[in-house]
């Protein structure tokens, strides 16, 4: 059973959490071409948020070219989905921010590298 994790106690907005989790499932191949996402209403009811929160998450994924949104039907994963190229610069900035935070915690280069290695293992093992 495919699931996404939501944390109301996190500082990250719920719509970003939803978008990140679905993006991760697509990246790992758990959500394949044509897979349908739950309806906005159903996911909003299960997560316990406003419809607009889920709609915003889906729009982010649609803007990245990962899902196809059509009025009256559920969001579908786009076949051979690849994030659009302009997004890569933003990813580099976010990764830089993560590295900064790790360094500020007192980690050295090897420890930061080990951190990413562990994260990669966990991601592809799921």
């Amino acid at each position: 059973m495919l699931t996404i994790e939501v944390d109301f106690g996190s500082a990250r907005p719920v719509y970003r959490q939803i978008a990140e989790q679905v993006r991760g499932l697509i990246a790992r191949g758990d959500l394949s071409d044509g897979a349908e996402l739950p309806s906005v209403r159903q996911l909003a009811a299960n997560v316990g948020v406003n419809l607009n929160t889920v709609a915003k998450a889906y729009r982010i994924l649609a803007d990245e070219g990962l899902v196809d949104l059509r009025h009256g039907s559920r969001a579908r994963v786009v076949g051979g989905a690849r994030a659009r190229a302009p997004e890569v610069e933003g990813l580099e900035r976010e990764l830089g921010d993560v590295i900064s935070r790790l360094v500020l915690q007192g980690r050295g280069r090897e420890e930061v590298s080990a951190f990413f290695e562990t994260a990669l293992e966990r991601f592809f093992e799921r």
């Binding site: 059973m1 495919l2 699931t3 996404i4 106690g9 739950p38 009811a45 299960n46 316990g48 948020v49």
Partner: protein, 357 residues
């Protein structure tokens, strides 16, 4: 004699239902997990309810057996409210002292739609339900032409008619049967649409247990509603046939049968389903808790009422006890509650008006 038996049966039935609920078992009291070990106060609550229930039963049965009939009717009408009211008072007291675990702010949500309502219902039970309504209506149509101008429409606690009217008013009972069937489906849809949130650990096991809980709830609702409608059908046809010349002895028997069916449904459902529901509820609590995904600050009145304006879900698993509750911040919750009261009254009133035209 029959009247006194009916009076005593009414009292004993209510007492039995209350007695079944009044228990302290392991870590639960009145079938509720209070989030803390049971103490002497909890056991004292159960003893008080049992004491009041037993006393009510003794007084009620004695009154039914020996008191003048009008007094016995009055006692049988009012006395059942005493153990019920006492039970509610003790339940509220127990909930106020509860320390429920906070619903976790971190949980998982499936990306698949939850199983629809039709996956939980029993086709044989639904067919039986529909057939019961159709056959009852057909049987009434068959005898309608032979009924007198006035038939008994309401009975006191002793089973004696105390209101008379046109036979067409009996169509209200058919309307009530349809309403009960619709209510059954409303409750089943409510169970199916309950929030589908899972813990971050033991996710699959929790999902299986959650499906099992929904299955049991739906089955209990179906059995209970079928028994209620069987009681209504018995009343409908019993009154109709009992109003025919030479069949008046059937009226008293009708009241007994209706009482047995409705009480049997209530008691039978509790006996058959409370234990497995309690077991699966315990399993869910152990695997990850209940009421996942609900707003901690949405639970009011010690956790008995859920009011969370920013939560779009309408049907919420109860924090205490078995079953589900509404998110009372949703207008639909109030609409459904109003309809549950207004529709049966409307059916009876409309039937009365139509029969007087």
């Amino acid at each position: 004699m029959l009247s006194r038996i009916i009076l005593a049966s009414t009292i004993v039935t209510v007492v039995l239902v209350v007695w079944l609920v009044a228990r302290a078992d392991g870590e639960r009291v009145f079938y509720m997990d209070l989030g803390r070990p049971l103490d002497e106060r909890d056991r004292a609550r159960v003893r008080r309810v049992q004491g009041v229930t037993l006393a009510s039963a003794l007084v009620g049965v004695a009154a039914a057996a020996f008191a003048p009939l009008p007094a016995a009717v009055l006692v049988a009408t009012l006395l059942p409210f005493v153990p019920i009211a006492w039970l509610l008072i003790e339940v509220v007291g127990a909930v106020k002292s509860a320390k429920p675990a906070e619903a976790s702010l971190r949980f998982r949500v499936p990306l698949t739609e939850p199983p629809p309502a039709k996956q939980y219902v029993s086709l044989p039970l639904q067919i039986a339900h529909g057939a019961l309504i159709a056959l009852s209506a057909a049987a009434f149509v068959f005898v309608r032409g032979q009924l007198p101008v006035l038939v008994p429409l309401h009975f006191d606690a002793a089973g004696r008619p105390n209101r008379w009217g046109s036979p067409d008013e009996l169509w209200a009972l058919g309307g009530i049967m349809l309403f009960c069937w619709a209510l059954c489906w409303l409750l089943v849809v409510g169970v199916a649409r309950e929030r589908w949130a899972l813990p971050t650990a033991h996710t699959e096991a929790y999902a299986r247990a959650s499906r099992r809980r929904r299955q049991l709830l739906v089955r209990m609702i179906e059995v209970l509603m079928l028994c209620v409608n069987a009681a209504v059908a018995a009343s409908w046809l019993g009154i109709a046939i009992g109003s025919l010349p030479g069949w008046s002895h059937l009226l008293g028997i009708t009241v007994v049968v209706a009482l047995v069916l409705s009480a049997g449904g209530a008691v039978g459902s509790l006996v058959a389903f409370l234990a497995p529901l309690t077991a699966v509820q315990r399993q869910l609590s152990a695997l990850g808790g209940v009421a996942l995904g609900t707003r901690p600050d949405g639970w009011r009145w010690g956790g008995m009422i859920y009011y969370a304006p920013d939560d779009p879900a309408l049907f919420i698993p109860k924090r205490f006890g078995i079953g589900q509750t509404f998110n009372f911040a949703r207008p639909a919750a109030w609409l459904i509650l109003v309809l549950l009261v207004v529709v049966p009254i409307g059916i009876a009133f409309t039937s009365m008006l139509l029969s007087r035209r």
